[in-house]
């Protein structure tokens, strides 16, 4: 008998007999009915409360905002994808810029040290956000891999105002996550932090020290 068979056998032959459970009413985690304005306000309130920096801009000129952020933060090397419109537009806009663009769509084995030691910022798109908790949601892709939003000290995320939804439950059920889970699905709410030293909050422990959300609206 394998460990598997033993364990499952014990669970199936439960002494107390079969178990039943009451129905789950999910009403408490959905049905917020916030207006668009309220939703965006909540998102910004919560992500700001954990040191996420939200910068508003119009969709048309968002790359100017990006250029300004890069200049303000003194970013010299920016890692980004190539195919996503966010990456494409950023590449076009930054072509003559002094920021060096680093391709993120490469096997990590070939540039691990470069990513860990030589890149100041990572630019990613987002799939949406959650107002209730101030969370971005990302499904990393070959174009924008998992470490892009994690290893560089600054993560710049581009978010469209229309993609913000009320609750995590709304996103999971409304976007049909259960039938399409990617390799890695992520919620990101602010830069990396810890309070393991006497409950004192410190940002930037293992992941990014800063998270900038470029919020594109209209």
């Amino acid at each position: 008998m394998s460990a598997r068979d033993n364990i499952l056998g014990r669970l199936r032959d439960r002494q107390g007999g079969p178990l039943s459970a009451p129905d789950s009413d999910f009403g408490v985690v959905t049905g917020r009915q916030w207006s668009r304005h309220e939703r965006l306000e909540r998102f910004e309130h919560w992500i700001s409360s954990v040191h996420g920096e939200v910068i508003h801009c119009e969709s048309a000129g968002w790359t100017e905002t990006l250029a300004r952020v890069l200049a303000d933060k003194g970013v010299k090397r920016l890692a980004l994808g190539r195919e996503h419109p966010v990456a494409q537009q950023a590449r076009e806009a930054l072509a003559d810029h002094e920021v060096e663009l680093v391709d993120a769509d490469r096997d990590i084995e070939g540039w691990k040290r470069e990513l860990f030691d030589g890149v100041e910022a990572g630019l990613t798109s987002t799939r949406g956000a959650i107002a209730e908790t101030g969370s971005l949601w990302l499904w990393p892709t070959p174009d924008e891999p998992r470490l892009l939003s994690l290893v560089p000290p600054l993560h710049i995320a581009v978010l469209d105002a229309d993609s913000v939804e009320d609750t995590f439950f709304d996103v999971v059920t409304g976007q049909g996550w259960a039938s399409a889970m990617p390799t890695n699905a992520l919620l990101i709410s602010g830069p990396s932090k810890t309070s393991d030293i006497e409950q004192t909050l410190a940002y930037g422990v293992h992941g990014p020290r800063e998270l900038v959300v470029i919020l594109r609206d209209a």
Binding site: A3, R14, S24, P142, A178, T183, I197
Partner: protein, 476 residues
């Protein structure tokens, strides 16, 4: 000065409790931390219909447990279909061997670890070390505790027993970090020390907060980013978890996550919620080539047999019960001498280690009920504490290993006599008369009872006689 290295055991609970109570530093560190956490939790649920949310959380966990064997099989099938290899371990020893074997197959010499209480439970680090594999904890609190050669004193905040000065000393002594009281500087130093290790580690080992049967997804909750690094940067990821962590649907996760972060640290959300459903696919550029899931039983299937004890398995490991426990707050986590301290430890560890070793833990409670009131999945912890106390003095039959360990023949005989006496009025009256007449001979020391209390003395005249006399005087 940093604390001297000490080994704690549940058998020495009483001695350890005395030592902790006499240590003003420990008491101050825990008092301050727990007061803060209680306040933050209260605030975090301000806007919520907390009772309805707890009810939902409890129902989701109950539903998962009610279908546990089916869900485990479904989880296994979906993980395997996604490319995650699933392993089963009857106990910690088997799980350690499985993990060591995977490491050895990859020629691994260094393992980076995300926070995992199950790995603490089975002493994985020591096991790997014996096999010549270096295991480094990467959660800041776990890292500090490992530097100090200790175990976590809290399941969410492993280094909560240490204050800033002590941590500064530890980092100075063990890593040469310059002494400072600046938490940002200490955090930055730890970041630098661990970064190289994340990059070069051969294997990442993590725990799992929720394993979703429906999709074969492993969910990890964290703030630091060490969990994401552990599960993304090394070429192999091994996740290890107890068999009870499975939930049925992906939609079950949001309410549990909402309860977990708010109950644990009063956060409305953690920085990262990391959901892993497969190893790196052919066209992807990072993430581990191999992902393994090790499902550990370690006594859980035995707990599962009993309708009442089963509730123990609902736990989502938030630590709110310890944060609110007046005993835990005073004696700290190490005093319990077990992987899980506090109320949840007191109701879980007897199943994992047996009541012989842990017989004092269910009694380490005033039964004030705070733990049960704050539990996000409504585990009736006080009832379970009482049940385990009963198991400890009972006839030794049942599902709790070591049941009957506290049973004393003298005590059983005493209660039997009492029962006989109390059900035979004539004998009772005679006995109280004798006791009243010889009251001067009543002992003034009655073991632990009289340590903080005065010994009871039989009354000269029994209440029974007094009432009789009173009625007679009134002519009733």
């Amino acid at each position: 000065m940093s604390q001297p290295v000490q080994t704690y055991t549940p058998q020495a609970f009483h001695r350890q409790a005395h030592e902790a109570l006499e240590n003003p530093q420990i008491r101050a560190n825990f008092r301050k931390a727990m007061d803060g956490l209680m306040g933050k939790r209260r605030k975090a649920f301000d806007d919520w219909d907390l009772e309805t949310l707890r009810e939902l959380g409890a129902n989701i966990r109950l539903r998962a447990l009610s279908k546990l064997p089916d869900l485990l099989e479904q989880l296994e099938a979906n993980c395997e279909a996604n490319g995650i290899r699933v392993h089963w371990a009857e106990n910690g020893e088997q799980a350690c061997e499985l993990i060591t074997e995977i490491c050895q197959r990859h020629g691994a010499s260094s393992v980076i670890k995300g926070k995992s209480m199950v790995s603490e439970e089975m002493h994985l680090n020591a096991h790997l070390e014996k096999a010549g594999i270096d295991a480094l904890e990467s959660d800041l609190g776990e890292y500090l505790v490992q530097l100090n050669e200790q175990t976590p004193s809290h399941i969410i905040m492993p280094a909560i027993h240490l204050n800033t000065g002590e941590i500064s000393d530890i980092m100075h002594e063990r890593t040469g970090t310059e002494r400072t009281t600046d938490v940002d500087a200490m955090t930055a130093a730890a970041r630098a020390q661990l970064r190289e290790r994340f990059m070069t580690a051969d294997v990442g080992v993590s725990g799992v907060n929720f394993a979703v049967a429906e999709t074969g997804t492993l969910c990890l909750v964290e703030n630091e980013g060490n969990g994401r690094l552990t599960t993304t940067a090394p070429p192999v990821h091994i996740a290890v978890t107890g068999i009870e962590k499975v939930v049925e649907h992906l939609a079950d996760v949001p309410p549990l996550y909402a309860l977990l972060t708010r109950s644990a640290t009063g956060q409305h959300v953690t920085t990262y919620f990391n959901m892993i459903s497969s190893p790196r696919k052919a066209d992807e550029h990072d993430g581990p080539e191999e992902v393994h899931l090790v499902l550990v039983d370690s006594g859980r299937s035995r707990v599962y047999q009993d309708d009442e004890l089963l509730d123990t398995l609902r736990c989502i490991r938030c630590g709110a019960c310890m944060n609110h426990c007046p005993v835990y707050t005073r004696v700290g986590g190490h005093t319990y001498g077990t992987t899980y301290p506090g109320p949840i430890g007191a109701i879980l560890m007897p199943h994992l280690m047996g009541l012989e070793a842990t017989k004092d833990l269910p009694s380490a409670s005033s039964l004030c009920g705070a733990c049960g009131e704050v539990c996000p999945v409504k585990i009736p912890i006080p009832d379970l504490l009482v049940r385990l106390r009963r198991e400890a003095v009972g006839d030794g039959v049942g599902n709790v290993p070591g049941a009957g360990v506290k049973r004393s023949r003298k005590e059983v005989a005493a209660w039997k006599s009492w029962q006989w006496l109390a059900t035979h009025p004539g004998a009772w009256r005679g006995a109280t008369l004798v006791a009243g007449s010889f009251r001067a001979l009543a002992p003034s020391h009655l073991g632990p009872w009289t340590q903080y209390r005065s010994a009871p003395k039989p009354a000269k005249t029994s209440l029974h006689t007094l009432i009789k006399r009173h009625r007679k005087e009134k002519g009733e």
